[in-house]
Symmetry: T
Subunit: 66 residues, 12 copies
Amino acid sequence: MNATYKMEELVGSSTESFADAARNAVEKAASSMGEAAWFEVVEMRGAVREGMVAEFQVKLKVGCKV
Amino acid sequence: MNATYKMEELVGSSTESFADAARNAVEKAASSMGEAAWFEVVEMRGAVREGMVAEFQVKLKVGCKV
Amino acid sequence: MNATYKMEELVGSSTESFADAARNAVEKAASSMGEAAWFEVVEMRGAVREGMVAEFQVKLKVGCKV
Amino acid sequence: MNATYKMEELVGSSTESFADAARNAVEKAASSMGEAAWFEVVEMRGAVREGMVAEFQVKLKVGCKV
Amino acid sequence: MNATYKMEELVGSSTESFADAARNAVEKAASSMGEAAWFEVVEMRGAVREGMVAEFQVKLKVGCKV
Amino acid sequence: MNATYKMEELVGSSTESFADAARNAVEKAASSMGEAAWFEVVEMRGAVREGMVAEFQVKLKVGCKV
Amino acid sequence: MNATYKMEELVGSSTESFADAARNAVEKAASSMGEAAWFEVVEMRGAVREGMVAEFQVKLKVGCKV
Amino acid sequence: MNATYKMEELVGSSTESFADAARNAVEKAASSMGEAAWFEVVEMRGAVREGMVAEFQVKLKVGCKV
Amino acid sequence: MNATYKMEELVGSSTESFADAARNAVEKAASSMGEAAWFEVVEMRGAVREGMVAEFQVKLKVGCKV
Amino acid sequence: MNATYKMEELVGSSTESFADAARNAVEKAASSMGEAAWFEVVEMRGAVREGMVAEFQVKLKVGCKV
Amino acid sequence: MNATYKMEELVGSSTESFADAARNAVEKAASSMGEAAWFEVVEMRGAVREGMVAEFQVKLKVGCKV
Amino acid sequence: MNATYKMEELVGSSTESFADAARNAVEKAASSMGEAAWFEVVEMRGAVREGMVAEFQVKLKVGCKV
């Protein structure tokens, strides 16, 4: 009862989509965080190279049980 | 002329992507709203289970003709 | 050194996804902008027709080398 | 005592002014809402046609007694 | 699966505390909304009379299962 | 040189328009403030009575020379 | 008619609750302000000492009749 | 299909009203922009001279077809 | 001199009040953080069950001496 | 105990830097405010003349003991 | 009278300070913009290399006479 | 490829300038964070003592390679 969570802020990236960038951030950081329960998108950006989108980037906060 | 719209706020979800979560919200609520014309994304979140993204969630406002 | 960038603000659209709408905006405007280096998502919206999502729209700022 | 209100979000439009667009939204929706007490402007936009402002649009929330 | 929620925006009030104002809004509106699952505080205000706080007011959005 | 200004925050109202509400706030408070140089709109609201807009209200900050 | 208000911004504190911190700010400043009519919460913070919350702080704007 | 727009940010002014300031910005800049389709208000300010509002100013973004 | 702090972001909950939820977060996490000096409220939410508020939740950032 | 503060909003300027503009605002207004304890930056702007930055301007709120 | 301005958004950088980064952006872009009158800071960031701040970056909007 | 970053939030201070406060935060925390790549300014404040600015404080997020 009265659970407490810690928010970790991450930035993930993907050449495919914003959803994939979020997945990559959560999954890569999973082992070093507590038990993750949800995430919240904070910012979406990307890299452009030679006039094309080269990378989608998502900054998100992950809620982890303390 | 001088059209009036009502905004309905919804949260949709999908195991696949943010775009799919938006589609699910709009389409499930379509029958109970007036004639929807556009939507605006308010927030993007998701659920995490066992270190993986289990669900993408999109909160959006839908503009419906009054 | 001490590079300067100009931000161009664009809106792109796609019938498929938000990522695709971002790609379309960056790629269509590439020829008339300077050398683009990154983009930042400002707003996500979409059009609804007959109760279904007809178009995903992404407003973004593109950073171009001056 | 301890009154409760429900906020309805509307978009109104006018060819004349922002004030008129707010008036049109409140008055058109009045019959289908509870007793309205106040409104808050959320966003102001407009349509442009042939280089001229064709329509002022105001998105607002109306507080209605429950 | 892929649950959809509708957000209702309410303002509640209390002479005691912000928590009580939130409780009053959720509980008074419960019967006319779908099954409520969570709420988010949007704004906190209050009324002052004769130099004392006469009322705490909380504007909140309630997520209800569609 | 290196002028300093103090911001005063006011709310004005009008039965006519938002511009008029701003004018009323600035002009009524002018005598009790220092020399006002500019204003910035912070919020626009209004009162509704019997289903019609009864008052436009504008909250603004006024910059006054110290 | 067309009343004008001045907003005063205050920070109050309490060892008990956020509501109490708001009450303390309004009541302590009442004698030096005009006739206060409402307040709006701007920020909520607090002090921590020896791992415990030592003080709740509320920053608020008070609307006072001019 | 999949239209792309460029946002231009302008500030217009008027001695009469905010609506007029928006009109002046859109119409003066029309000839040097692409085909404008809509505008979004970003900020509303004004100049004060001798205790009276001397000018209403509106900052807006205009969406122009690329 | 020139002290440096690290902000930790937490979510606490309580069945009683927002103040209590803040207290629970700070006190539960105290042992695993550096010496906490202040907190800032980021978001207030809650859980609803059977039409009643079941839990108040406060997201906050805690400033800890490095 | 349970100290109360009043926030004063100021704009300072400097030909040198943002830090200097903040210093100028605080120091010039010090004599007419209560005992100032801290400031918060609200906005940073500047004037440009003949293609060069002529002035840095900082808008800030100063917390003064009541 | 009724002057119209166009806002240009730039990012400048400096190894020294935020003020210098703003100066570099305004001065480098001056020749390709109309007559610049003021700037507004939108964002401040920087690059870090080997544990030290390598570059201060300022994103700003410049108001140029049309 | 598809790099992941963790954001650490810090507050640094300086008696000299905002740039110096940012430098102090990044450099003091460098040894306990992963490899830092960039920072983003979140908030700028300061302490005032005897009517003078005694300290500039910068809250920032640092992006560190995971």
